[in-house]
């Protein structure tokens, strides 16, 4: 197979460019510079483009020929194209027509540069955040209304997806939540013991653990893990359905996406999160107890007795009361970001990341608000 070449020579008063061989995409790279070199020096001389040696032509090759002809004409030469096989000529014509139509007509108007780029960005970001908050509240309202409507006709609650999601977000989360809580319990007990030993107050490690885990750490850790695990899954699932137009299909079938997609997930999380939170509390305490026994020689009986003194059911309750709120936030953010997905696979990825970041952020902010609130009312 002969790769494409372009040769040039003068015949009498005419400049002859002879294209031969295969003018295809494989030769295009070599042909590019050749086109630039083989130019008639003399201004305005007639040019004859001889295509009789051409054995094959594809669109890339035809495009190069088209460029060559355009450039020659642009420099004021009269170009005659001769000798092309009729099929190759037809392709050249097709490409020429396409290239003429393909020229970008009105290039996008240049972006207006703001006078103070930093201020501009800060301003846009601020407005963006504000609009985000508004539309999230809007979504919360929509979900509330739908939930209220569903409460009046409870037999419409779909049990199958509910149990499916309960298994996904609840049961399947137990191993990882358990493992991490156990480790947290161990770390807390170890660090606390180290400090308290200086005062000979090792036994108070139990108070530290009891209060710390039950009021704060247990439920906070659980919520963060669940946000990373299930919040992201919600966004990715709903987002992929959005990309496949499944959500649109639902609407045309008279099904409410909020009722079908959002409520089962939210309800499942609402049930599961307090339960996983309680489980995490117990496992973290167990971890602490093991550490106290190994490191401080506090046996399990002493640990239990001290725990009874240190904490009350209120402590447990103060921790767990936060769980339903966190559950709503995680499910709300996950589903909201999922429904915001538009068109591309990329936006699924972006919004999944966002969903995790936003829900963890909100969980921590709400936890702080709860702390302030509880100390204000004195529990």
């Amino acid at each position: 197979m002969q790769t494409g070449t372009l040769s040039a020579n003068w015949e009498e008063n005419q400049f002859v460019l002879a294209a031969s061989g295969r003018w295809d995409i494989a030769s295009a790279e070599r042909l590019g510079p050749m086109l630039r070199d083989r130019m008639p020096g003399r201004k305005g001389a007639p040019v004859c483009l001889d295509l009789s040696g051409l054995t094959a032509l594809d669109t890339a090759g035809a495009l190069l020929l088209d460029r060559l002809i355009k450039r020659l004409r642009g420099q004021g030469h009269v170009v005659a194209v001769v000798g092309a096989r009729s099929d190759l000529c037809a392709l050249l014509k097709d490409v020429q027509r396409a290239a003429a139509g393909a020229e970008p007509k009105n290039p996008a108007p240049a972006e207006r540069r703001p006078a103070f780029p930093l201020a501009d960005r800060v301003g846009r970001a601020t407005i963006g955040i504000w609009q985000d908050i508004l539309s999230m509240l809007n979504f919360l309202g929509l979900v509330t209304v739908t939930a209220a409507r569903l409460l009046r006709t409870p037999n419409r609650i779909r049990l199958k997806p509910l149990f499916f999601h309960l298994e996904q977000v609840g049961l399947n989360a137990l191993p990882i939540v358990g493992l991490l809580s156990f480790l947290i319990g161990i770390v807390l007990a170890y660090q606390g013991a180290d400090q308290l030993r200086r005062f000979g107050a090792e036994i108070y490690v139990v108070n530290l653990l009891g209060i710390g885990v039950l009021r704060e750490i247990g439920i906070l850790m659980t919520s963060i893990i669940v946000a990373g695990r299930s919040g992201s899954a919600f966004t990715a699932q709903i987002g992929t359905m959005k990309v496949n137009q499944e959500v649109d299909a639902m609407r045309t079938l008279g099904l409410d996406p909020v009722e079908m997609l959002v409520l089962p997930r939210m309800l499942a999380l609402l049930i599961a999160l307090p339960l996983i939170g309680f489980f995490a509390n117990m496992v973290a305490l167990a971890g602490g107890a093991v550490m106290a026994y190994v490191y401080l020689d506090i046996n399990f009986g002493q640990f239990a007795r001290q725990l009874q003194i240190a904490v009350s059911t209120t402590t447990l309750f103060v921790g767990l009361i936060k769980a339903p709120v966190f559950a709503v936030v995680i499910a709300l953010v996950g589903c909201y970001e999922g429904l915001r997905v538009s068109g591309s696979a990329e936006s699924v990825g972006l919004l999944t990341t966002r969903s995790v970041v936003v829900s963890i952020f909100l969980v921590i902010v709400l936890d702080a608000i709860f702390s302030i609130l509880f100390s204000y009312i004195g529990i």
């Binding site: 790279e29 594809d58 669109t59 392709l91 097709d94 490409v95 027509r97 393909a102």
Partner: protein, 255 residues
Amino acid sequence: MAAPVIRVRGLKTRFGQQVVHDGVDLDVSKGEVIGLVGGSGTGKSVLLREIVGLMVPSAGKIEVLGKDTENLSESERLSLQARWGMLFQDGALFSSLTVLENIKVPLKEHTKLPPDLIDEIARVKVAMVGLPPDAGDKYPSQLSGGMRKRAGLARALAMDPEILFLDEPTAGLDPIGAAAFDELIGSLQKSLGLTVFMVTHDLDSLYAICDRIAVLVDKKLVIGTIDELLRQEHPWIRDYFHGPRGRAASAAKGS
């Protein structure tokens, strides 16, 4: 005769209990345009996917351009993939890239052309498949179904491949666009010696550009020219070519 470009022998495909192909044989020679027809769900798309190596058949042998598609080294597979283009039934465009960027993907991957030439090639492909120029900067989700199909075709044509695999290229195109598409394939086929293997239900396309037609019935292929198939006794093939649409297309061709 030169070795066939596509050669399939004794191909069998099974999904669990369901047998889709049971002994498919096929030879496609260089420069031929073959149309594959068959009822919905008879396994046309699956056959296409097996030929391009996206699925592995349960049994049988497939050779494309003289190479066994099943046991290829990675470098052989890459060089082979640059020599064919595939249009998927639903476009399968990269959703996070614009149409132009989609077309540039194989060009950037397989050639070392300068960016301005790549850009121009991509724009020409957009125009050649009949898309308006401004469609090039749109994302797939911003296109209509028929436009997505054309964009997919433009991407399949990006490398000016030797073999073009098309899964229902004219479905979803308006009749004028479909005719222009037939013409485009015809002119590319002539100038490039392109081999085209296409699944189609478009009888006009079959009459206009296909040299031979392969019919997938009873899990096997029946191959022949239109005239041969018109004389076939098999009930499905009879119904297909002698039904009202078949007659209309035949009359259109005759006039």
